[in-house]
């Protein structure tokens, strides 16, 4: 495990990471970041600033073209992939990318099955979360027949039901109605995990973050600090957020 600064465990350490897509498009450029265990961070930036790419890199789903990423003290590789997947939840921006099983019930049981969690235990967890998030009535439905808000809710439930130590949320409140939005924000507020949320919606930031990493359209970090960043209109304007 990596302890920096002497106290809290570093959940994520990224050193000079860059990512270039196979077609030559730059995803992010030379980003260094340290996120402590239990911290709530918002990756704030305009469309195309590399927030989603950064989430993929910090969650270990893709490897950086240059630089290094350490998650919970481990460099992602084949040997520790199971440990990392057990401890990391990722909610994708588009729930259609995330939900690929024939029914909602099978979606809920997918990750527990992959991680070898006994069936009875998995069913118990799935039922508990289905009740909590009021999705009991749609358990036998295929996900592609659900509304956008329901899909988003299901993908969040799938990611948090095993209570991961680190939770990544990519635009969690985009394209959802007010009720679902309140529910999602409530989940984030109550969660004890380290939460990294990518968003361009300024109004939700104070509810879900204690730290803001501001990304600019040049795919670099413009600012990294507390909620006071939200009051710096000039900086936000430069970054393209407002």
């Amino acid at each position: 495990m990596v302890y920096l600064g002497g106290s809290r465990l570093k959940a994520i350490v990224a050193k000079d990471i860059s990512y270039t897509y196979p077609d030559g498009t730059v995803g992010i450029e030379k980003i260094s970041l340290q996120i402590e265990d239990g911290e709530r961070v918002v990756l704030l930036g305009p469309n195309g600033s590399g927030k989603s790419t950064l989430i993929m890199l910090l969650s270990g789903l893709i490897s950086p073209s240059t630089g290094d990423v350490e998650i919970l003290g481990y460099k992602p590789n084949k040997k520790n992939v199971e440990f990392l997947r057990r401890n990391i939840g990722v909610v994708f921006q588009n729930p259609d990318d995330f939900l690929f099983n024939p029914t909602v019930k099978e979606e809920l049981l997918y990750t527990p099955a992959q991680l070898g969690i006994p069936f009875d235990e998995a069913i118990e967890i799935a039922e508990k979360f289905a009740k909590k998030f009021e999705i009991e009535g749609i358990l036998e439905k295929p996900p592609f027949r659900l509304s956008g808000g329901e899909k988003k809710k299901i993908s969040i439930v799938c990611s948090i039901m095993l209570e991961p130590r680190i939770l990544f949320l990519d635009e969690p409140t985009a394209n959802v109605d007010g009720k679902t939005r309140r529910k999602i924000l409530g989940i984030i507020e109550k969660s004890k995990s380290t939460i990294i949320t990518a968003t361009h919606e300024l109004e939700i930031v104070p509810r879900i973050a204690e730290r803001i990493v501001l990304l600019g359209i040049d795919k670099k970090i413009k600012a990294d600090g507390g909620l006071e960043i939200l009051e710096n209109e000039k900086l936000l304007e430069e970054a393209g957020v407002v």
Partner: protein, 261 residues
């Protein structure tokens, strides 16, 4: 809306619905109650049987068998037929030329060729119906679980899971493209424009599928793995499974005996 778009939209809807069986799969019916590890091999045997004969008298009892399964499994006959009609019709059209032959400068008609085409389509109908019954009454995870139970190679199962996963993705993407095109069309297109636009749409479809499939792959990785590992349950052997085995064995014995006598 032109013919190509309309056909593509219909085909997309048809295949999309073919794999969406949530209404029936959890009903309290005969086939639904069976343990998939007895049901799938049994149905596979029944699927192979009609392929061994061209005799309509030996094939016709299969229709009664299918009707029995449809009714006992609480499947609406209309819904069932709407899922399977296209396949025998398509095969009939493909085989129909066998009923015609060149006679000097004209075209002759062969009754035996027509009978062949009809029986061929009958066999296709039976095979597709049995396959459809399995899909309609068995959750996908149970089908995969059964294949694992019978030690089917992992690579085959992975291909099956991927095909299933991406088939929905492909059709939903195609439907989205078609609807977007339709919403932005302001004039009737000429024949050449229809083909040109169709080609463009197909190109866009491939690019979008490729991009989405990468995201789906990453999401499956984020959820613990790429290879699908469904839950497996203790084998159930109850009176219903015993009845099914006896029923299928009796039918097979009768069919083989009928074929050879």
């Amino acid at each position: 809306m032109d013919l190509i778009d309309k056909s593509l939209k219909e085909a997309t809807n048809f295949f999309h619905n073919f794999f969406a069986t949530e209404k029936i799969v959890y009903r309290d019916g005969f086939l639904q109650k069976l343990d998939a590890r007895f049901k799938i091999p049994g149905m596979l045997v029944l699927l192979i049987l009609p392929l061994s004969t061209f005799d309509p008298l030996k094939l016709s009892p299969m229709f009664f068998l299918i009707a029995f399964f449809i009714l006992s499994s609480k499947i609406e006959p209309k819904l069932f037929l709407s899922r399977v009609w296209l396949f025998p019709l398509f095969s009939f059209i493909v085989v129909l030329p066998k009923a015609f032959f060149f006679e000097g400068w004209g075209i002759g008609f062969s009754e035996s060729g027509l009978i062949y085409a009809l029986i061929f389509s009958m066999r296709v109908f039976i095979a597709v119906s049995i396959l459809s019954l399995v899909i309609l009454t068995t959750p996908f995870s149970e089908i995969i679980s059964t294949l694992r139970f019978f030690r089917v190679p992992e690579s085959f199962i992975s291909v099956l899971v991927l095909t299933y996963r991406y088939i929905t993705l492909t059709f939903s993407e195609m439907l989205r493209i078609l609807l977007a095109r339709e919403s932005r069309r302001v004039k009737r297109l000429s024949f050449s424009e229809v083909w040109k636009n169709g080609g463009n749409a197909l190109g866009v479809l491939f690019i979008r599928i490729l991009e989405r499939s990468e995201r789906v792959y990453l999401s499956s990785l984020s959820r613990g793995g790429f290879r699908h590992k469904p839950y497996t349950f203790p084998l159930k052997f109850r009176p219903i499974e015993a009845f099914f085995i006896t029923f299928v064995s009796g039918f097979v014995w009768w069919f083989i005996w009928e074929v050879h006598v």
